[in-house]
Symmetry: C2
Subunit: 354 residues, 2 copies
């Protein structure tokens, strides 16, 4: 907000954080819990990941009000081995559970060089990159993932039996920007197929199958079918590994045992996450790592681009550019979402949601 | 070898192991080192991964003889934090360095619940699945990767600046087969493009670009160009993460700093690897894990297949089927490779290689 006229639907980080905390307080969370959850959701918006940021107050709020999510969870991290923890999320709001798991993982990695926290009893925890970013700012490389409601068919199969599980990675750079990679395992998100349908366009046959598991170029058939994973059997395998770590080993639900928050909003989902953190500060001094990371980015940026207007980027650059710009100019969450948050912040969210 | 006539080029596990050890002894390795390296290479053949198994004695041998690989490395694992180690491979044969790193990682994970070993100063370490398999048999889940000579362009770039880095995962099942996923980040291997060229066929535009970074369906142009990663920018990101862990954080070479063993066979490659192991035996008793893993496979197998002749499989099934069959019937390495190994085993490999 640099002295120019405020734009509609654009808010400062401070105002967005305040509204989000107030909305979560109105939904029954404690001040500390609301603050921790808001940290993740606001970072998501700062990164430009609006579908996974404070807009989620709407769906989280719906489930909190009908008892599908527990507003006052208690956390008792269980140290099963010096560097390995289990955490029951007690069916709390996902970004709160995720934030607390990250704190446990950072402390354990600082003591042991590497740590793993397996989380069960959780819910949708937002995007991965806010967690990777917080970890990277403290010098931790990270591998973080969650399982999700089933939307993908096993490779060669014909029904949804695994989730489009998100997984993310971070590598810190003491002198500059971390590398951040945050991805789902599908080639594209369903929204891209819905957009093609709206525009009356066909889709590449690599995006999705019809309901019989056959690749299709028809967006309507694709929406009745299943998203395809990247690299066919390779992405299928990656999605399973994320679910095996996040769901199976954590003691959470996995594959078809994960409840859908759309079909059963009042039921605990028992989603699982995993946080693997490595303390890079013990591998060398910060000059050593900074020099290597700076060289790393320079090598990638030095590849002449196919399209002169689209230089090669390092993963995370898009999000971190958005972060810098929105921190300076305000966060564009749109007029409708701002109205939703303002209503939710004074406990009048139901009216606003219609 | 079940009493039937031995087939040409088919050998028992014992004979293949003996030949491989003898070949490595003839190339200057100690008995212990030769035995450890042979364990990985023979497992690769048992899994049916012949291009990454004992056939590599040929290229390893060439580099050992000209001093490109050190036949008698010494290993001094450095514990930088309770669960985090660095290991300098001292330019030893890759599968030997990899086997020793795995041993360090297993011991550290048993003590700490999770461990990480960063390896530098290494060479091509074979496929990942033998390491994941050995770890899984001891109850460890694993994430293991290596970097590789540059063959892939950054996403949107026009020259080879990163490797087709292999990464693998394993999850143990105390009552049956582990899940094993072992993959490179490219959509296909270059061999598949060479085969299309031989047959005069075009290739899908998702496999590779020409030398200008433009997707191509011409196999000849593709062989002059670059392999494409799975999922476009997603696979590009994954390849970077593998290289950042295996090469950058480990203290090894990374990106274009990795020497090509084809162009500079007499130079140390300074490849890097990482081994992240999680001790699943502290998460629950073996009945708990066995029940969940068995249920897991059953859910996947239960999806009706698109093609009735191609049932849904769990990653690792193809390799483990090969393992069972070849352990019983002998390992098919082919007549030529057997002749190479027999010559190498008596120190006459150069003659055999022509």
């Amino acid at each position: 907000m640099t002295g120019t006229q405020p734009r509609a639907g654009v808010v400062s980080k401070e105002r967005l954080t305040g509204l989000t905390i107030d909305a979560l307080l109105a939904l029954g969370l404690t001040q500390t819990d609301a603050t921790d959850a808001a940290t993740i959701l606001v970072l998501a918006d700062l990164f430009g990941l609006r579908t996974h940021g404070t807009s989620r107050i709407e769906s989280y709020g719906e489930r909190l009000r009908i008892g599908g999510i527990n507003p006052t969870p208690s956390f008792n991290p269980e140290q099963v081995s010096p560097a390995l923890y289990r955490l029951d999320g007690d069916n709390g709001v996902g970004p709160l559970v995720g934030f607390r798991a990250l704190q446990v993982a950072m402390k354990a990695a600082r003591s042991n060089g590497i740590s793993c926290v397996f989380v069960r009893g959780s819910n949708h925890f937002g995007p991965v990159s806010p967690y990777s970013y917080i970890a990277a700012q403290q010098g931790f490389a990270s591998i973080i993932g969650s399982n999700a409601t089933t939307t993908i068919a096993p490779w060669g199969g014909t029904d949804a039996r695994l989730g489009n599980s998100p997984v993310g990675f971070g590598v810190p750079n003491p002198a500059g920007r971390p590398v951040l990679l945050d991805m789902a395992i599908s080639v594209v998100a369903r929204a891209k197929i819905r957009n093609a349908l709206k525009r009356g366009e066909s889709i590449p046959s690599t995006w999705a199958t019809d309901q019989y598991g056959r690749p299709t170029t028809d967006p309507k058939a694709a929406l009745d079918g299943f998203l395809l994973p990247i690299g066919g059997h390779k992405g299928y395998g990656l999605a399973l590994i994320v679910d095996l770590l996040a769901g199976m080993l954590s003691g959470a639900a996995y594959l078809t045992h994960v409840k859908s928050w759309l079909d059963d909003p009042e039921e605990p989902q028992n989603l699982g996450h995993f946080y693997i953190l490595i303390d890079t500060t013990v591998l060398g001094n910060s000059e050593w790592l900074a020099a290597r990371m700076t060289d790393y980015a320079a090598i990638l940026h030095g590849s002449a681009p196919v399209d002169p207007n689209a230089p090669v980027i390092v993963p995370g650059e898009i999000e971190l550019n958005q972060y810098d710009r929105q921190l300076a100019e305000g966060i564009d969450i749109g007029v409708e979402q701002l109205a939703m948050l303002e209503a939710a912040a004074v406990g009048k969210y139901q009216t606003a949601a219609g």
